[in-house]
Point group: C2
Chain length 665, copies 2
């Protein structure tokens, strides 16, 4: 079947990027950063297990996230259920709108996401056109599509065939709008441009809508529908009242959640970038819609971001502007200070992890590109061999979610604020005269009352006029649609002075939402390099704070005189809470260092024969491969300072002499 | 419907325990430790959200677990998918055997777990009998059922009716065996003893089997069945080969995983104790079946545990023996040192969290009580108002899982060990003479060959004899069941000397499996108390390392002169990575302290007018409510030492004078 396909197998589509992904993937597989789940059973596309280094890396990213966001701003972190009552996701719009269009190879029955397939085929044809033209003029094809302002998709195999100018323009227009077509439109494009399954050249079915939520059933009755959550956000919104109370009714504030979410992708093929189950970290920051300033904005105002605004994209440009967040807010490129604050904080977080600034930009969604709940959205996009990939979304969901849940459940999800000055104003109101209204209208009283209570001030004035014109009687519709005669003694319509001491409002929500797996994978690409002159020796230069293991502990050989020293040092390192790996295998010291360069372990402590004699050990740094040699306690002290980023290796080797002559026996 | 029921609503069954659960539950609700998920939608039984303090408490428990187990022993932690390919759980036995029996109220359609319902009704009748008897003799009913060696279930409403001696004995026998009945037997018990739905007095259906896994479908085809994992273990077993390689092929070692698992319980009614979605932490420790010693056993040998062995239970006793783990292993109460090591480590972990030792015991499963995969099992049971509840299981799964997956997928899941001395022995073997065998047997060659290759040494000798007796010919069955004539030139049967340099074995698995939610809830009960003379003032005395928030920061009032001091202190506390809550609400200082006693915040730093003048602040300890007053830097230093458990409050107030006279304006 389509869904059960080996993910590390032969890919139909191949990447155009220069980056050598194959050798990195080999390293990640060999060192068990991750692997397809249930590999012995053939695997399932879009499901991966993180092995020990991947899992530790993920934990460290989450830990840093919690410290950078939750602890730093006293966010109210919660942990909600993944299994979600169907009704909740019906209300949020996910049951109706969280879907993709798919097409089916009419011979093999294989499914494809319709927009991705159209995109891949047309990009491949454009690429073929470029190749055909450059073959004619004898220049090398330039990868001009690489920096498009949408996600780069993998292309089909390329045939060097020149296109007519008109066709080429048409393809480019379709690609520019690819995120916005309906199913019917995609079907038309497929027919008109004779798009087939590039793998088999078979015809494709009409696009069919496919909801991306995994469905299940809760309890034994079979009547309670449940879905695996597609985001953690809904669980947070449903607890808004409890959060507000917990926060002593103070606004603004944020809730946060870290956990697994699910999207039943039609045909995922991009490694950790597009998966069916993923860890996300989401913040829901609740603000007064009339005041979206942020108390701590000044702390980040000078942070410079690379922004790709709607305007830039509308002009067909792909080069972001680099600008301070203060200026971006001032110039209304970024709507408000709270949104600006979070964009800057997201930037600081990603850079702290080790994401390269030149491969990081913030792209604003085009109006027609946004999710059904969003009213503005900026993505932090990180460049990798998969192109510019959305890794963090920062959406203004306005009051959408709180409003729909409140309407559905009748639970008020509002903030009440005492007004310093009471608000006094006049208002047209209607008062029903119950003694006459009920007895006269009898069984119809309810439907008429419901209609009357739904009228706004203007409508009430119209009704009042109608009564006056009709000499004290007129007809009104009931909520049942029938007309009923009413007279002026049924109710009173009059002006009244209203004095309000409390302001009541539905907060708006600014939502920074992090795809942890995408960040993790992009980070790995950014820190990957190979030793000069030896492309077999890969290195992952994780910053110490996110590195899966902090310290490698290696005895020079398995000579028994090292045993006690290794054990004692292990105990000391654990006491310091340093994640240590002991490698006392019989491999050469060089091979053991190389292995840990591939794991990204920043430091290694080596015990040799001199250690047994004088109590000194060496400390090796991963990137420079330089070593120092000092007494154990000094080394532990230096190591702890390095890991807590209180010092740097450059400073360390200024203070301590580097050591070069390890005796190997 | 049955599944959608308010969980904090009116319960049919009420607890018999003395502990006042209601007031604790009120506190937990008020302070948003947890709440039913989707409460505004009516909630769903068995699904809960952890609010900010519950979520922080859970994170801290997990953090401590990771440090105590994973870091301490260099376990290979992984993070696998929740969505599991159906085939995997078919092989593991869960599709066929992971089920409970349920009965249905034939009028209302409500479902109940059959064994729980029988248990509840019979216990209620026995309780009624006891009441009737004690009314006769005028003594108070004693809760003798409280310490049974099985989990305490909630009882139906009790009617004081005396039972005949024979009936009583029969009920007690059924209760003793309640975990072991088949569906048909439960049906018979229900009919024979006239058991009804105690809520409605309606008849019940025959027991129906209900699989406890949530089912879904992966991908768009609808043909790939998936289940939400019922345990993290299977994901670990499937990666065994990769783990072993990652561990440089060294044995023994452990993998570990922390994550969400799911059980679609029929009718969960016990708060956080029995839920449909839960966080678990599991260790799979792989050992040589011929050597289950543990290298670090000596480090724990003197740890004394309260053990309730099979023998004690078989004698009908419920009082555990207290014994050192070394003695328990020596006396074969606990089977081996690895199992013993983990029981002791589990004990040390739980005590470090704050679990009370007198409410902690280890109970061995009776032979007929174990899961389908287990060959021995000890539960760490923690006593709470729900009775003695299994919170950690420690099972010896033998080679069960690795064997069944290996058989199904043909992937060898074994350890290969170089033998110091090669193993040399004689063996009867069969060699097929292909030149004759194939041509003679033609299309039947395969079925006969398969049969011959399945024969063991003894069977080969019998065949050899038969050929001799039959003058060089005989008949053998094919694997198709038909008989075929074979002659001695088809194959050779002879003795051969075998020399083995490698030993190959399937490791056994010792599995400590932690229910984080159950531990979390039990811990809350253990640390809950109320101030003497004021039962309204609840306190949760979490040890600092697991407390949700470590420090409360309170300005005496919202006087603007405090603002800068609060901000500076906040920054300093964050730098020290101390989870701090600022409470600058207008509540009295006493109310703010009380609120944080309920949150279990161990320390409070208070800023008052004296602080503005002389730079001193007070530090208050939650349990004693005592305070000291020192300069800010001293207080921060003391606080950090307290949180890292390098000192205790008792020592602190020996060194620093206690402070009593806070000026309140």
């Amino acid at each position: 079947s389509t869904a059960v396909q080996p993910t590390f197998g032969v890919h139909l589509f191949t990447s155009m990027a220069v980056f050598n992904r194959t050798s990195l993937e080999e390293l990640l597989k060999k060192r068990f950063f991750y692997a397809p789940s249930f590999q012995a059973y053939g695997g399932v596309a879009g499901l991966y297990d993180l092995g020990p280094p991947g899992c530790a890396l993920q934990s460290n990213i989450i830990e840093l996230w919690r410290r950078h966001f939750v602890l730093e701003e006293e966010m109210l972190e919660m942990d909600g259920t993944i299994m979600t009552l169907g009704e909740v996701l019906k209300t949020s719009g996910h049951v109706d709108k969280f879907a993709d269009w798919m097409v089916k190879d009419i011979e093999t029955g294989d499914f494809f996401r319709a927009d991705h397939l159209v995109e891949a085929v047309l990009e491949s044809r454009l690429e073929g056109d470029k190749q055909a033209r450059s073959e004619k003029v004898g220049t090398e094809g330039v990868n001009s599509a690489a920096d498009k302002n949408r996600k780069k998709k993998k292309k089909g195999k390329v045939n060097a065939i020149e296109l007519e100018e008109g066709t080429k323009a048409e393809y480019e227009e379709i690609l520019a709008k690819i995120d916005n077509y309906t199913g019917a439109e995609l079907g038309e494009i497929i027919r008109k441009h004779n798009i087939k399954n590039p793998e088999t050249e078979n015809d494709l079915s009409e696009p069919i809508e496919f909801n991306l939520m995994f469905e299940s059933s809760i309890g034994p009755t079979g009547h309670t529908k449940g879905y695996l959550r597609p985001e953690t956000a809904q669980g947070q919104f449903l607890n808004f009242k409890k959060f507000l109370e917990f926060n002593n009714d103070k606004m603004p504030f944020a809730s946060a959640s870290i956990g697994r979410s699910f999207r039943n992708e039609i045909s995922p093929r991009s490694g950790l970038i597009r998966v069916r189950e993923f860890t996300m970290a989401e913040i829901e920051h609740y603000v007064d819609p009339q005041n979206k300033d942020h108390l701590r904005f000044d702390e980040v105002k000078d942070v410079r971001l690379r922004l790709l605004s709607q305007n830039i994209q509308a002009e067909g440009k792909t080069e972001p502007i680099e600008i301070s967040i203060a200026e971006a807010v001032e110039k209304k490129i970024v709507d408000n200070k709270t949104l600006g604050y979070f964009l800057a904080r997201i930037y600081l977080f990603l850079v702290k992890l080790g994401i390269k600034t030149e491969k990081l930009r913030f792209r604003q969604h085009m109006p027609n590109e946004m999710a059904h709940y969003a009213c503005d959205c900026w993505d932090a996009e990180i460049q990798s061999s998969y192109g510019w990939i959305e890794c963090v979304g920062c959406a203004d969901r306005s009051a959408y979610d709180l409003t729909v849940h409140s309407n559905r459940t009748k639970e008020k999800l509002v903030v009440r604020e005492s007004l310093l000055e009471p608000l006094v104003y006049e208002k047209t109101i209607l008062e029903i005269n119950k003694k006459i209204f009920g007895p006269k209208l009898r069984q119809n009283a309810k439907t008429v009352e419901d209609y009357l209570l739904s009228l706004n001030e203007e409508q009430l004035e119209v009704l009042k006029k109608a009564l006056e014109d009709g000499n004290g009687t007129t007809t009104v519709p009931g909520t049942d649609g029938n007309e009923y005669e009413v007279s002026r003694d049924f109710f009173t319509i009059r002006r009244q002075t209203i004095t309000e001491h409390i302001r009541e409002y539905v907060p708006n929500v600014i939502e920074p939402s992090f795809g942890i797996g995408r960040i993790l994978y992009s980070l790995i690409e950014h820190v990957y390099w190979t030793r000069e002159g030896d492309e077999q020796r890969g290195v992952l230069s994780f910053p110490p704070r996110v590195a899966p293991f902090k310290c490698l502990l290696v005895p020079l050989s398995n000579n028994p005189s090292f045993t006690d020293l290794v054990r004692n040092l292990s105990v000391k390192l654990r006491k310091l809470n340093v994640a240590t790996k002991v490698d006392d295998s019989s491999n050469s010291i060089g091979r053991r260092y190389s292995r840990n360069d591939e794991l990204g372990t920043p430091f290694a402590v080596t015990i040799d024969f001199q250690s047994v004699n004088d109590g000194t050990v060496t400390l090796r740094e991963r990137d420079t491969t330089k070593q120092i040699r000092e007494k154990v306690d000094t080394i532990l002290h230096v190591l702890k300072e390095l890991l807590e980023e209180e010092t740097t290796w450059d400073k360390v080797i200024e203070i301590y002499p580097t050591f070069t002559q390890q005796e190997l026996d």
